[in-house]
Structure formats: C-alpha cells, structure tokens
C-alpha cells in the first residue's frame, strides 16, 4: 500500500511532459491576457487573465442566481456574492448534466435496442441500410430549431435532442457490432440448446459491449456538444445558456469560466465512463480492453486488476 504523496509523485513523474505542456499553455494564456486589448463594449480583455476569471468573473456569476432564497439576487438589486455564484453554477450545471445524462441513457437504450431488433432479421437489416446512411448525414446542430419546434424550448427538447444525436450512433454501432460477433459463439450456443432470444441476451449483447463502450466514448463529446448547442439556441437555462448571457455583455471572463467548467465536466464524465467500462469489460484481456477504452487506462488500473495466468 503506497502513501498518497508517493502516488502523486509517481503520477507526476510518469506524466511530467503532459503537466509541463499544460503549465506552458496556461503561462502563455496569462501573458496574452495582460497584453490583449479590451473589449469595446465592456472593460473585459479579449483574452481574460486567470485572476480575473477566478475573481471578478466568478463573483459575477451570482447575476445568474434567479431563485429568491439562500443568496441575494443581483438581478433585482441584490449584492453579488460568491455563495450566489456557486449556487448559480451548481444549479445550471445540474440542469445541463441532467439533460446530458438523461439524453445519453435514453439514446443509448433506444439506439441499442433498435439496433439489436434490426440485427435480428436480415430483411430488416437490408431495409434499414439506406435510411441509416441518410440519418448519419443529417447535420446534428442544424436540427436544434426543428426539435424545439416539435418539443418546445424546454428540458424535454434538450433531452430528446441529445438522445437523437447519440441514439443514431448507437443504432449504427449496434448493427455493425452485432454483425461482427464471431459465428463460433453463435454456433456453440446453438449446439448447447440456447434459444434465439437467449443467444441475443447472453451471447450477442455481451459480445458487442466492447464496441458499444467505444461508442460511448465517442458519443460523450457529441452529447456535450448537443446539450450545449440546445441551450445556446433555445433552452433558457443550463451552462450553455450562461455562456450566451455572458456573450450579451462581452463578459469574456465569465465565458471562459464556464468553458473551463465544461472542460472539467467533460473530463470527469469521460473518467467515469472509463471506470465503468473497465469494470464491465473486466473479462477482456487488459491489452484488448485498453484498446477499447483508452490506451492510458492500464496505467490507472490497480495491480490486482492485471490478468494472472493460472498454471495448469
């Protein structure tokens, strides 16, 4: 059992180049922030320096606290407070994450189930071929207004939009993955007396999980884009909407703060998915699983997780 400082030291040693590159990037940003011209509309530099982002801009976030409890509301003359800022960030973050998670789960479930249903029948597979290609061609963000027209500028619209965006990917991925399941497993299951349904549930579905998790990794970025896009254009809450509010007043610091928050959330959601994938796919040989999930995952797995070849 290693101590925490030792683990941190080990982590830094293993990734010093990555850490150094980030430090250099932040330094360049800070220098640019102090040299950049001010925005003509408000006293905001085009490139906001860090002390401004995490100082004045963070405090200004309390402007977006619109509930008359726990903290004053600047929008009706109340003072700006850090409590209000954190509450506003937490509230709008929670809304965005709720829309993202709901859309992701809905899209994954519907896309996978439809994909499995289509894979069941060769006729349906052929029938769905051309429409599938069409669906993939639709520019996702261009469809936001249509979804808001159909479902309204509300939570449902954002959730359904995210579900549609990722659902199409899952649908296609499931059909492809199901057609790639090795015939030997299907034959083996048939000779053991398994029904078609049991083969789907116990053989095909687990066999396609690695490809589905690859899709999850791919669709995470897409889902974030979709939910932020939906909030940009119509839904009147969420961190995407916060960026638009900040843009109205050229508040570059606030825009940057929300962007940093988005990076943190996206990174965290990616880490959560990697952990879930590492657990669900623990039956796979480590090297293959790392290819599916991420090449860096092996470095983070505890030693107990490494495969052990048992002697005969």
């Amino acid at each position: 059992m290693t101590t925490l400082p030792a683990r941190i030291l080990c982590y830094v040693r293993a990734r010093w180049i990555s850490i150094l590159s980030i430090v250099i990037l932040v330094t360049i940003w800070e220098i640019a922030g102090h040299l950049s011209p001010k925005s003509p509309l408000r006293e905001s530099p085009l490139v906001p320096p860090l002390e401004m982002i995490f100082g004045r801009s963070l405090l200004g976030m309390s402007d977006y606290w619109r509930i008359d409890m726990w903290a004053p509301m600047p929008v009706v003359g109340g003072a700006q407070t850090y409590l209000g800022a954190f509450l506003a960030l937490a509230y709008h973050s929670a809304l965005t994450i709720f829309r993202l998670a709901s859309g992701l789960v809905l899209g994954a479930v519907i896309g996978t189930l439809l994909g499995l249903a289509i894979s069941w029948s060769p006729f349906l597979r052929k029938l769905s071929g051309a429409p599938l290609h069409l669906l993939r061609m639709f520019p996702l963000l261009a469809m936001i207004p249509l979804f808001q027209f159909w479902f309204g500028a509300n939570n449902l619209s954002a959730i359904v939009f995210v579900a549609y965006g990722v659902g199409v990917v899952y649908f296609v991925a499931t059909i492809n993955a199901a057609s790639n399941v090795q015939g030997k497993y299907i034959d083996y299951a048939h000779t053991l007396g398994a029904s078609q349904l049991r083969i789907y549930l116990r053989v095909v579905f687990p066999a396609i999980l690695p490809e589905l998790f690859s899709s999850i990794m791919l669709t995470l970025g897409l889902a974030w884009s979709a939910v932020i896009g939906a909030e940009y254009v119509g839904v009147n809450s969420g961190i995407g909407r916060m960026i638009i509010w900040a843009e109205f007043f050229s508040a570059t610091g606030r825009m940057m703060l929300v962007t940093i928050l988005l990076i943190v959330y996206a990174g965290a959601s990616y880490l959560v998915c990697r952990r879930v994938a590492a657990h669900v796919l623990r039956w796979m040989p480590s090297a293959t699983r790392a290819e599916v999930v991420d090449h860096s995952i092996e470095a983070e797995l505890p030693m107990e997780d490494q495969p052990v070849m048992v002697n005969r």
Binding site: T191, L192, W283
Partner: protein, 263 residues
C-alpha cells in the same frame, strides 16, 4: 445410433467455384462408440461433423440420430470446436451452466451438475475465474465440461486439441477417455493426427476427398501407451491410414475449403 446415408454437401467457394465437400458419405455409428475421423485438411472432416451437429445443411442425403433426421442444432449433439469458444464474458461456472440454463434445468440441479462436471475436469477451484485467466488447455476442459453437463448423448469434437502443446494434449486425452468410459456417450472426434486417432478411437474412419475411404476397427488394448502404439497391429493400422490418405506416393496439395464458407 447415428445413421448417415449418402450425405452430400456442395457449396460455392469464395472464389466462385463449386466445391463438393461431401461426396456421398454413408456410415453407421453405434451408441457408445469412440469414432475418430481422420483425413487431410480440406477433405470434408469438419464439414461432416458440422452436418452431424446440424450447423451445415446437406445438399442431399440424410443424417439421423436414433431415427430422428437432423434438421438443425440440438443439445442432444454437443460440439467442442477447434477454436476457443468458451464465452470470455462469463466466468467458468456460468460457462458450464450456460447449456443447462438454456435447457431450463432447475437452478439447484444446475449448481449440482456444474459442481460435478467442474470436479470431473479438475477445475473445481476455478469456478469463479474468467476464461482469460486460464490456459488454453483449461479452457478446453471448460468446453468439455459444458458439453458433458448438458447431457448430450453424442459429442462431436472438431480437432479440439489441435492448438495445444503435446503434454497438455496427452493429459486431455486421458481425461476425455476417462469421461467417455464413465458416461458411455458416443464421441465423433475429428483429427488429422493419426497418433491421436490411435490413442483415442476404437474405430477410425479415414476421409479423403469428401468420402470415407476406410473404416478401421482399432482392437488395441487400452491404455494405448507407446508400447501398444508400436505393436504390429498398430503399425498395420497406421500404414493403412497413410495409404488411404494418399500419402504413400507423395502429397497432392488441394485447396482447403473453409467450413465458414458454407454459411
């Protein structure tokens, strides 16, 4: 009893030409027999075995088990494949239980049978292991336990030990013969290894160009150790197989049709 009558199987190879993998195979296999199908690669052994399993349809002719014509796969005819088919996403216990659960066996009975068969293949301590944690030989034992556990009356084995090292193969031969003796199931075992056929089979069917060209009763005593395999009778059987495989006058290379081309 397995009754194969004028079994023919023709399929189109990926190159476009028609391949006649089985050319009128007729043979009867009695209950409890250990029959080895010997032949060169691409001469119809695996095609015949897959047809017996109901995985490949015949172009003409018929195969019947106890009078029932084969129309598709059945748990009555368990198959151990050449490739590693143990489900990697199930622990060893669940792999062995898969067939039993597919047949709707009660959970208590399933647990009992899984435990018995894991013990029979000497994998008792590995019930909760993932297949990736086992060696190739151990995974074969899982596949054997799975097929035996379902109660299949006939076991069809398609070069199951072909990818294993010599010592593991010898160990698995003993295990398989032990299980066969205890359960009295019918086993049809495909191999291209004449020595393996001599060790295992009490009957050897030699296949060449989609036909059975020789049917040899192996009346050698068991266990068939090196001394037995060096006996005059064993040498005669070996020579007969070699002659029927067309190896005596040199090897004629023919392209190998893959069983997957049949699907």
């Amino acid at each position: 009893m397995i009754d194969i009558r004028d079994a023919r199987c023709t399929f189109r190879h990926t190159s476009g030409r028609l391949v006649e993998a089985l050319r009128g195979v007729s043979v009867t296999i009695d209950d409890g027999e250990f029959v080895c199908l010997v032949g060169r690669s691409g001469h119809g052994k695996s095609t015949l075995l897959r047809a017996l399993a109901g995985l490949n349809p015949l172009s003409s002719g018929a195969i019947a088990f106890d009078g029932n014509t084969v129309t598709g796969p059945s748990p009555e005819r368990g198959m151990v494949f050449q490739e590693d088919t143990v489900f990697p996403w199930m622990r060893v216990h669940d792999n062995v239980a898969f067939g039993l659960r597919s047949l709707g066996t009660r959970e208590s009975e399933t647990e009992k049978l899984v435990s018995e068969w894991l013990s029979a293949v000497k994998l008792t301590g590995f019930a909760h292991s993932w297949p990736k944690e086992l060696s190739g030989g151990m995974r074969k034992r899982v596949a054997i336990a799975t097929v035996f556990a379902t109660g299949a009356k006939t076991l069809l084995m398609d070069e199951p030990f072909g990818s294993l090292d010599y010592v593991t193969r010898i160990t698995l031969h003993s295990l398989l013969l032990d299980l066969w003796a205890r359960t009295n199931r019918t086993i049809v075992f495909v191999t291209h290894d004449i020595e393996e056929a001599l060790i295992l089979g009490d009957r050897i069917l030699v296949m060449s160009e989609g036909q059975i060209v020789d049917d040899i009763r192996v009346d050698l005593k068991r266990p068939r150790d090196e001394e037995v395999r060096a006996s005059t009778r064993a040498v005669t059987v070996t020579k007969s197989i070699i002659r029927n495989l067309g190896l005596a006058g040199g090897v004629d290379e023919t392209p190998e049709p893959k069983s997957s081309d049949l699907r």
